[in-house]
């Protein structure tokens, strides 16, 4: 559950930190708080995983990492969480989730978004994932996007979301 201070910090930083010598102090002053409070709360949010990391958020398209494929994996249920943890740690995977199967049409229970400079690069990385999984793997596929039908940015929603728990 996030309180008003957390939400104020999200709003103050969702487009980035102030690029100044004292970014946390500048945020504190803008919010009418003390720098020590901002620092303590940001550290707690990082430790809790609410902040995944702090630093450069690359524009991977501008940097030439323009291809991506949604790789999907049918992994033995008893192995999927251990396998997922290893796949997520790869530096070319941006999302990694266990999701429900929809048998018989959809047998895959693990999703990993793989990024590369070309489609061939992505396919080679998908094969590297297959090798990593080993015998727990029954089948896999990679779904490339052929068209963006809609894309809107992630927006901060009203604090009413707070009660979601």
């Amino acid at each position: 559950m996030r309180d008003a201070f957390d939400l104020a910090l999200i709003r103050a930083t969702e487009n980035g930190l102030p690029l100044t010598r004292d970014p946390y102090g500048d945020i504190a002053r803008a919010l009418g708080r003390d720098r020590v409070d901002v620092i303590a709360r940001m550290r707690a949010l990082l430790d809790a995983g609410a902040i995944r990391r702090i630093g450069v958020i690359p524009n991977h398209y501008a940097l030439g990492v323009v291809a991506n494929g949604m790789s999907v994996w049918d992994v033995a249920d008893e192995a999927v969480d251990e396998v997922g943890a290893r796949i997520g740690a790869l530096d070319f995977v941006s999302h990694c989730y266990r999701r429900p199967r929809h048998l018989p049409e959809w047998r895959y229970n693990l999703f990993a978004m793989a990024h590369g400079r070309t489609r061939e690069d992505v396919l080679a990385k998908v094969e590297a994932i297959a090798a990593l999984i080993g015998p727990a793997l029954s089948a896999h596929d990679v779904l490339f996007s052929t068209r963006i039908l809609k894309k809107t940015g992630l927006r901060l929603r009203a604090p009413a979301a707070e009660g979601r728990g």
Binding site: L19, R21, P58, N59, M70, G88, R98, R147, K151
Partner: protein
């Protein structure tokens, strides 16, 4: 593709995480990169301005932004594809929608403040299109080590 100086590469490769939460974080980060505090700040500003980096700061877990999200997929007959895409996209709860090369050929993300709205939106799309919407909620999220090497 954007041309980068060696110092810019060092910033992008070395600072995709681990930025300090402290009184003078740029001074600390600059020391590990072998440059000065003001140089690091100036280079980060220039990289943002050039579009090489989207922003500099915390990457928030999207669930912290409020509300619920769910991936969904449909198998849409080719002849009706554009019509169905328009029907799906008309829902404000649809944030992203992609055509993908598979029998399940339309993949979209439903997001809503109220988690109950996820299922309600899926059922509304099913009623409008007569097609099955397969909800694929995340059951487990794995730590992601994604970083771009330049």
């Amino acid at each position: 593709m954007i041309a980068l100086a060696d110092a810019d590469r060092a910033i992008i490769n070395g600072l995709q995480g681990g930025f300090p939460i402290s009184e003078r974080p740029f001074a600390e980060a600059a020391a590990t990169l072998g440059m000065g505090e003001d140089e690091l700040i100036a280079r980060v500003k220039a990289l943002v301005a050039a579009g090489a980096i989207s922003r500099f700061g915390p990457l928030w877990n999207s669930e912290e932004m409020g509300g619920a999200v769910c991936l969904a997929a449909m198998a849409v007959p080719r002849a009706r594809y554009e019509t169905v895409a328009a029907q799906v996209n008309a829902h404000p709860e649809i944030a992203h929608n992609y055509e993908r090369a598979h029998a399940l050929n339309m993949w979209f993300v439903i997001s809503a403040l109220d988690p109950a709205k996820i299922g309600a939106t899926a059922r509304a799309i099913e009623a409008e299109t007569g097609l099955d919407v397969k909800l694929m909620p995340k059951e487990q999220e794995f730590f992601v080590g994604f970083r771009v090497e330049v």
